[in-house]
Symmetry: C2
Subunit: 365 residues, 2 copies
């Protein structure tokens, strides 16, 4: 296997030691709080990382699509939650049915019509699929109010589906100062929905929440499981939110300085890396300092991104890297980065030790 | 082959009729102005589309990376320009050498050090690689000032490379009201660099510019070739820039309404599509109206995007689509969308007629 510095750039590099530490730490936290951990595998899409999460005690995996579920079920993962309000066509129902022969499958729902459609499409197989009703806890994306959750559960039950609980995604936790408030709203929404569903005679033994910003703030008084995803790698977004430190960064993109300006035009101290949006992704929150960070140069700012160029403004007083020098970029949002590449380089103790395929990359449906 | 409406969503769909009309129209325009057309294939990455561009008279293709060049050279494309300031390592030099046995290869350079490194890495094969010096015409990304272009050409010549001209990318044309100004700056920069290089005794027979917003504004007084990419599909960005019409949109993403809010919470008329950032991409200019457009509902706005959800605010007075209904989304930036999917559905006259692989997807190096 060639050395790290011989790999053509841009290249996603996973530090296996940091990755394993992140996996162990989250598993230990969740064990302490008696929650069950069901990591969101859409972040990494990698079989070898799923194996490590399950070995550390995860109760199963969360995925976003039937296609992702198929990849992990074929690998032998036997408990999969598709945390998404599926609108089930007949061909998808057939896939879900085949999936349920390989693994325990639960899915999301957030409408009466969705429940009816799912029941009809699954036909006799509806009873094999467990359903969690999605509740909106303040992110205002999908999910219903706790009051409407009862109607959805009712419809699911009538359609022959197995109601098992409620879930929510506190996506509004991805903003400075928001994680604590988001976790309180999440727990309140889950509690209210669980109470109403229980009163209406439904099973709510699963109450699922959690994102990477909130997972370690979640107690077990209401939720029974959490679904963090990004924690395995961390990223510039989590760093700038204060939800991880530089030492927790397990994923970087190796990039080469291909162009730089230090004369003429009166421009600032600017260089261009070959890690553009086609490897970093363009996700950028309003509060982000740029399009990612440089792990060895915290004061540098990635001010612009095009498909194959990242423009970096270099801090005053710090020597501008030479052309051809390699830098390590921390993407803003690792879920996007992993979905852009077919495989990743794996290092341990600074040595290249493996390559992992991004097995569920691009499985959007 | 299944019907269009049976394809699982989200799914990228190419309208072959519109695609071919776009290809023919750009080819005709460029022929009229006596420019040569060298379309940027990073937009589509599809062999079948490259074939159509070449059949319509393109002089060759532009690509962004050695990996993209390899895919098209293996398909038989015999003239390829890697429009990027390559920093050549030895393994990459070896690939470039092999590439030059299959096709006429030209590459970009924007530094003396880049030229020296390339010459050394290519060793005896340097003379097989033609070089265009990249000039900055106002986009302020890579590229040097026209004055410095002479030094780069000099260094390339000394390194044994074949200097053939200059190129620029007027990326600042991607803003309202900017295309005309950008094309003037582009022509001025190319003219100044060409004059200085000629005076220094270099060959500048190729003077390459052009982006989709500027290509049809470019005359042949300075430039000898243009490199538009997006024109084959158009996208919401070109539409909102006024550089294409709704009728020119050849690429849409078929999406399903999976969630909607029309009761409770006092929220606006809001629905969620299953076409998130993992198929649309998150590119969004400051002046964009949202994260893409709906081709059949021009007044709807895509206000938020997460990985598998597009949140749409529906216009007042227009009936909210039903759950399960399919809508067609026009991405903001098609180059990003094509790089997210492994294949695309092809329709003609409303019928599904083919599937094309995105052969050069993910070839970032």
């Amino acid at each position: 296997m060639s050395a790290v510095e011989d790999i053509p750039t841009p290249q996603v590099v996973i530090d296996q030691d940091v990755l394993e530490r992140n996996i162990t730490r989250m598993a230990a936290h969740v064990r302490e709080t008696s929650l069950r951990l069901r990591p969101h595998a859409k972040t990494h899409k990698v079989l070898q990382i799923a194996d490590r999460q399950l070995a550390a005690g995860a109760a199963g995996l969360t995925v976003a699509t039937i296609g992702e579920a198929e990849v992990f079920a074929d690998h032998g993962v036997d408990d999969l939650f598709i945390a998404y309000p599926l609108w089930l066509t007949r061909p998808q129902a057939e896939r879900l049915r085949r999936l349920s022969a390989k693994a325990r499958v639960s899915v999301g729902l957030d409408s009466v019509e969705g429940a009816q459609t799912m029941g009809a499409a699954l036909n006799g197989a509806a009873g094999e699929i467990a359903v969690l009703v999605e509740v909106d806890s303040g992110h205002h994306r999908s999910g219903v109010s706790p009051g409407l959750a009862v109607e959805v559960a009712q419809a699911a039950h009538r359609a022959g589906l197995l109601v098992e609980g409620v879930f929510t995604f506190p996506g509004h936790s991805y903003a400075p100062g928001m994680p604590q408030q988001a976790v309180e709203q999440e727990q309140a929404a889950l509690a209210e929905a669980a109470e109403l569903l229980t009163a209406a005679g439904h099973n709510v033994s699963r109450r699922s929440g959690g994102s990477t910003p909130t997972a370690t703030l979640t107690g077990s008084s209401v939720a029974t499981e959490v679904r963090p995803g990004v924690y395995v790698f961390c990223d510039a977004q989590q760093l700038e939110l204060g939800r991880c430190t530089w030492d927790d960064i397990a994923l970087t993109v190796a990039a080469t300085v291909v162009s730089r300006t230090d004369t003429g035009r009166g421009s600032p101290r600017r260089l261009v890396l070959d890690s553009g949006s086609k490897v970093l992704g363009t996700d950028r929150s309003a509060w982000a300092t740029g399009h990612g960070r440089l792990i060895d140069h915290p004061d540098a700012r990635i001010t612009a991104l095009s498909e194959h160029h990242a423009t970096v403004v270099w801090p005053e007083g710090s020597p501008l890297p030479a052309l051809g020098e390699r830098l390590r970029v921390v993407p803003n949002h690792v879920c996007v980065t992993m979905n852009l590449v077919d495989d990743v380089a794996v290092v341990s103790g600074g040595q290249l030790v493996d390559r992992w395929a991004v097995a569920a990359r691009g499985k959007n449906s």
